[in-house]
Amino acid sequence: MAVDVDERLERYADLAVRVGANVEEGQDVFIQALIEHAPLARAMTRAAYRAGARYVDVLYRDEHVRKAMIELGPDEALEHSPEWLKERWREIPGNANLATTGDPEPELLADLDGTRVGRARMKEVIEIARRGMLERSINWTGIAYPNEGWAEKVFGEPDVDRLWEAVAFCTRLDEPDPVVAWREHIARLERRAARLNELAFDAVHYRGPGTDFTVGLLPGARWMSALFRTASGREYVPNMPTEEIFTTPDCRRAEGTIASSLPLALQGDIVEGLRLTVVDGKIVDVEADHGAELVRGQLESDDRAAYFGELALVDGTSRVGQTGITFFDTLYDENATCHIAYGFGIPEAFDEVPDEGMNISTVHTDFMVGRPELEVDGLTADGKAVPILRNETWQLPE
């Protein structure tokens, strides 16, 4: 029997394997996908074997099973981390990892008890995964799978073809040679990051509607593009698409107010109109038009969740931004515009061991702050402000 092969899907999977995770011959390849993403997981499996993988290990998640647990299971099930799943995460370091996004039912958990939804996290598994990330020994990537439910959320109708077109544009699949197009794209982002590093700002200041926020930078943390290297020097691109330049801020130095500019999909629900107040590095007040309790619940996950882990700059040349689409998927929306994350920092921003200014937490949630009215300045050590973004246009020489 022949298997139906969708050419576009195969090319997409190839891109994820060759550019994204950059799978090395002889590696094991781990894939985590929602069960609804099986066609992409299968295509990535084929692509990984074609790239020389020794073994491809696919693990499907089913949010409906998780929903049954939250709705009907005992309290102790909520934070249960199966031993075998911990074991699987211990096997990933040294190997490649691919994960998928594109929620087929973004509001599946919306009618459940929010406290139980918030508590339903496999903390021990997440902790082992985080430790693996800190070792920087995994070449990994995340990539989205267009599906009906996601298309419905984005367009108000299940137009998967239209969503596929947008995804193909954002990930440069529409280029004659996507691999070459990615190489050029990443090189441009790297040049921007290098310029920011030369300027060696002490802090960044955001100013716009509902936002007046200053956050300190760390001398040991670089600005970087999403071209990552493992400790052994293997390059990979952890997000596809990616349009951002980002760094790990000083978690001890943040002050002011922030208003998010786009809805945020979080734990099976949508947070809208998020507003944060920050004092001495910590988020001390959370308001939202919808879903504030989800964010509050997440910030209580551990004692460092309410501190900042990432600053990212995106300008109007972003392909994601150019689509004008709100994707309700962080992988996309965070690449449409500037964003900030609370929770875990980005260890890759440090050449050596991250210094104590990097935040360590079990959560990492990006939310969008960019919009045409947002002005972003770099502040030098002597207090001089240098414009970085105005009207979504990059102000530094390229």
Binding site: R42, T45, Y49, V56, V58, Y60, D62, E91
Partner: protein, 401 residues
């Protein structure tokens, strides 16, 4: 009024696996079974599961490995999979059958198909089963691909109705109907045990086979109990009574009477010749390489581990349908299995080393594959220790009381 799928899930959880409050409930399923897996999760939490752990295995992922992966990884068992296989100890598990693309692997190199098994995972799971340390069950879920194979068209509803009839979902109280049914099968086992048969003799077109039995092996049907005393029904449906044969004493020829779905290919007209307990000659119209691949898994794969009797009152047999799925087809008809012994029938052998188990006449192997040898044209006699013949099946009718 509950949905059919929820009634079915309750049957699998409460009768099949007989999940006990506080146990973890494991589910192994294909991606196409997800509606049932989700219903099982709800039902299991209702029944008091401490946690429901669903794992989907994807035949397309396996296909990619066989087609494109390195040969030395075909039998690779990831440590975490062995760990998960071991975690069922003391807990409950349901495995879901019903292949969505039964011929998915048929165009691949069949030697590689035969080799591609997670041997360490299978061994760990079998060890726990044979040790009676898990209450487990296998049940099926219909899908378009399977329906297409059975009926020549993707009539899922028709397949659903057939499955519902075989598992007694059409009864007003399926759980009560199952209690009566399992009691009847258990009575047959007591009857056969009382005869103290030394061998069974099957005779029919292409078949003249004598299967030596083990004195310490009892007949089992209508469910089993774990070591901790939890009764469960390992197969939904079940119509068989089975026992563990002596792996050294199978003689003669046997021809399969129904197609066998094996690792993504269909084996038709399988013919095996046994001498001194070992399958020394193998023929088949289709799927021969897949059978050979299995028989070469290890030194004991060529010897029998199960013999089972089914008569014409079987609900599966009565549908007249060939399901191309062992779970059903083996319950339509008498069958035998090559490979590991069903040690539920000889519990005193459980826990012995493989060598000790074999020394006592029960087979140990990494495979266990049932194939169907019964039907209206096949007579079955029991042979007692003193050579007396006792008719057991004639024209598919049970001859004992």
């Amino acid at each position: 009024m509950q949905d059919r799928i929820d009634v079915y899930a309750d049957l699998i959880v409460r009768v099949g696996a007989n999940l006990q409050p506080g146990q973890t409930f494991f589910v192994n399923a294909l991606p196409e079974h997800r509606e049932l897996a989700r219903a099982l999760a709800r039902s299991a939490y209702d029944a008091g599961a401490s946690y429901v752990d669903v794992r989907y295995s994807d035949p397309h992922v396996r296909r990619a490995q066989i087609e494109l992966g390195p040969a030395d990884a075909l039998t690779h068992s990831p440590d975490w999979q062995v760990e998960r296989a071991g975690a069922i100890e003391g807990n409950a598990i349901a495995s879901i059958a019903g292949e969505a693309e039964p011929e998915l692997l048929s165009d691949l190199d069949q030697e590689r198909v035969g080799k591609s098994r997670m041997i360490a995972v299978a061994e760990r799971a079998l060890e726990i089963q044979n040790d009676r340390a898990v209450n487990w069950t296998i049940a099926a879920y219909p899908n378009a691909g399977w329906a297409e194979q059975v009926f020549g068209e993707p009539d899922v509803e028709r397949l659903w109705r057939a499955i519902a009839a075989t598992v007694r979902l059409d009864e007003p109280a399926p759980v009560v109907a199952w209690r009566e049914h399992t009691a009847r099968l258990q009575a047959r086992c007591r009857e056969l045990d009382a005869l103290r048969l030394d061998a069974l003799h099957f005779q029919g077109p292409g078949t003249d086979l004598t299967v030596g039995l083990l004195p310490q092996s009892r007949w089992v049907g209508g469910g089993i109990e774990t070591r901790a005393g939890i009764p469960h029904v390992p197969n939904l449906p079940t119509e068989e009574v089975f026992t563990c044969p002596d792996w050294r004493r199978t003689e003669g020829a046997v021809r399969s009477t129904r197609p066998l779905a094996l690792g993504g290919t269909i084996v038709r007209d399988l013919e095996l010749t046994f001498a001194g307990g070992e399958a020394v000659d193998v023929k088949a119209a289709t799927g021969l390489d897949a059978v050979r691949g299995q028989l070469e898994t290890d030194a004991f794969a060529r010897r029998l581990g199960e013999v089972a009797l089914v008569d014409g009152s079987s609900r599966v047999g009565q549908t007249g349908i060939t399901f191309f799925n062992t779970l059903f087809d083996e319950n339509a008809s008498c069958h035998i299995a090559w490979g590991s012994a069903v040690l539920f029938s000889a519990p005193e052998l459980a826990g012995l080393t493989p060598d000790e188990t074999r020394e006592r006449g029960a087979n140990v192997s990494a495979v266990h594959t049932d194939f169907m040898i019964g039907g209206p044209d096949v007579t079955v006699d029991g042979i007692t220790g003193d050579g007396r013949r006792v008719p057991i099946l004639r024209e598919d009718v049970w001859q004992l009381t």
